[in-house]
């Protein structure tokens, strides 16, 4: 019997030795789960959960432990509190999520000081990545869609004059600045600039758009947070008959998020947006992503551009866990491991620019149309590959 006891002890030693190498990586997820923009949080959260569910085995023997917190309203205050708690109390090795730019902006000093990397899955104000060397962004900069939209609007859509209307917070100003820069460079003229109130509540858009209608530019470039605001501005646009009056609606993809597109109806048809993701994008990863999404969340739930970025974000986190063999205690090493990361995701080929820690992705000009099956869809009109954040390329505005 003695021999068995020895064998048992040996087995135990192997098991203990094995588990000592298997690391449990704590990841803090900060997304809005309450308030009028809660559905934006859910869009990314669902993508995170889906990736973790399907790929947990890829990082064996390591495991990832997700700790979720509510980002709160788009002011950054709640996000700062809960993220600081995640870092100091829960001792997470990295934080991810962050729908709103103000959250990331408010947190940048905390991130620099704690050296806990912030892996951004949405917040798109261009200069956020310059605020801390521990910030890596997998979503987009406002300049990704807005800057090329400027030239495209002038050359292809036929906008000689444009009005810009935006929700009055950092990404809104950033998006409009990017569009104006590209549009003016191409030869267009911005005739009207309208801030449309804070992101905390959806305003009555009619007075703003009535003003646009009366000024009668060729095009209206709109930026709004892609939640309830998007549905609101589209209704006002349709109700006031702006398209009939000859004012075309253009903007970044935030105007027509996939999970709200079907509800927007005829008002949305003809809208031209620049963006890096649409459900209709034709690539193998996107088809698989959509199939898995519907299997997990039902046929009436749609992923959108935020979900696509969320998927790639979690993909990169998992790749980093693998690359560093579960040891993510050194924030600088985590950021280094992510520099130059590249993969094929639902958005197509994406990579992290090692110089700026920001994403490089394809941008598509897309038009909303009614598909033969009666649903609304996005038709790709033109594609620019490997677009960098032009704000940092051109070194303009706050990206100097």
């Amino acid at each position: 019997m003695k021999i068995f006891r020895w064998l048992g002890l040996a087995a135990l030693a192997v098991a203990v030795g094995g588990s000592a190498q298997a690391a449990n990586v704590k990841v803090g997820v900060v997304l809005p789960f309450s308030g009028p923009n809660a559905d934006l949080g859910h869009q990314i959260d669902k993508a995170f959960d889906l990736y973790v569910k399907l790929h947990a085995k890829d990082i064996a023997p390591h495991t990832v432990e997700i700790i979720k917190r509510d980002e709160g309203p788009p002011t950054g205050a709640v996000a700062k509190t809960v993220t600081t708690e995640l870092i100091t109390n829960d001792k997470v090795q990295l934080v991810t999520g962050f729908v709103f730019s103000p959250s990331s902006i408010a947190l940048a000093p905390v991130i620099t000081q704690s050296k806990v990397p912030m892996i951004i899955a949405n917040a798109g104000t261009a200069w956020i990545t310059d605020l801390s060397p521990y910030i890596v962004r997998f979503s987009f900069s406002m300049w990704h869609p807005a800057y090329p939209m400027g030239a495209y609007a002038y050359d292809k859509v036929g906008c000689k004059t444009a009005a810009v209307a935006y929700t009055d917070f950092p990404p809104g100003k950033d998006s409009v600045e990017a569009f104006t820069t590209g549009f003016t460079k191409a030869g267009g003229k911005v005739t009207l600039s309208i801030p449309m109130g804070p992101p905390t509540q959806v305003p009555d858009f009619t007075p703003f758009l009535q003003r646009v209608k009366d000024a009668h530019p060729d095009c209206l470039y709109g930026f709004i947070p892609s939640g309830a605001h998007a549905a609101g501005i589209m209704k006002a646009y349709g109700e006031l008959g702006l398209r009939k009056a000859g004012v075309k609606l253009i903007g970044p993809m935030d105007l027509v998020p996939d999970n709200k597109l079907q509800d927007m109806g005829d008002a949305a048809i003809g809208t031209i947006v620049m963006g890096h993701y649409a459900r209709d994008l034709d690539n193998a990863e996107n088809k698989a992503f959509n199939a898995e999404w519907h299997k997990a969340y039902g046929p009436d739930s749609y992923p959108d551009f935020m979900s696509a970025a969320g998927w790639d974000t979690m993909h990169a986190i998992f790749d980093t866990v693998k690359k560093l063999d579960g040891n993510l205690s050194d924030g600088a090493k985590v950021v280094d491991a992510m520099k130059g990361w590249s993969a094929n995701g639902p958005r197509g080929h994406v990579m992290i620019d090692p110089a700026t820690r920001d994403i490089v992705e394809d941008e598509h000009a897309m038009e909303i149309y009614r598909k033969p099956d009666g649903k609304l869809g996005e038709k790709v009109l033109a594609t620019t590959t490997a677009v960098k954040d032009e704000c940092k390329v051109l070194k303009v505005g706050r990206c100097k």
Binding site: G41, H42, P198, D204, D214
Partner: protein, 290 residues
Amino acid sequence: MPHVVNIAVSILFDGLAYSMFLFITAVGLSVTMGLMGFVNLAHGAFAMCGGYFVVTLTRSFGIGFVPSLAIASVAVGIISVPFERYLYRQLYKSSDLEQVLLTIGLAFMAIATFTYFYGPIPKSVPLPDWLQGDVNLGFRAFPSYRAFLIVLGVALISVLWYAFERTNIGAKIRAAVDNRRMAESVGINVDRLFTLTFALGSGLAALGGGLAIQLFGLTPSFAVIYLVLFLIVVAVGGLGSLKGTLLAALVLGIFDTTGKYLLADAGGFFIYFVVVVVLLIKPAGFYGRE
């Protein structure tokens, strides 16, 4: 038409439509606060509830938008009765703070409940053809839905005015708002009166909630997000006054629209500026008792 006149007509029209929405949604709050001095912060939750009723009736049952509005108002009015009977009634004699805690708690519970069943994605309603697009009044075209808001608002104001000023029950309500103890002394059952006005106010809030879907979209957080707006209307109008609520809704709606149109950079400043000025001059609101 000269450009300036055109702009003025635009602003007046949009402002009027917005005012009507404010009036419909806030009038119930004003009357219940005036009658019982009860601070009902769950008013927005009843409005939100009405909105979701309309969404479900139109989307799942295929009932038209206008009948859905009517059904939602009546249903929410009835649903609000047990809330008043069994929850609110306990706290009539309590302090404002306790009333606020109960009702804001109810609002948060409503948000959580509706998020559970409907999810956080903003909802929209299918409108009938005659409410889409615009109506041409000869000299210019107006968005049909806004015109509908104005017509509905004016009709409701007429009905409410008649009910308050010309009917027996209206006289009782006015008497109870003016002097509750005296009204009770002459045999008016103020408790039952309150149940009735509470149901009416909640039903109107539900109507406002249904109408708001087309303006703002509908998410569960509607219950608190726009509450400030309704409270402002009530404060500026004066508690318990139909006339005051109407005047406040008109002034705030038109000022807000004017500000947004002419001076978008000033943002939401205008509406608060008006509130501060009015309350400095008349601390109890336009028609409130000092």
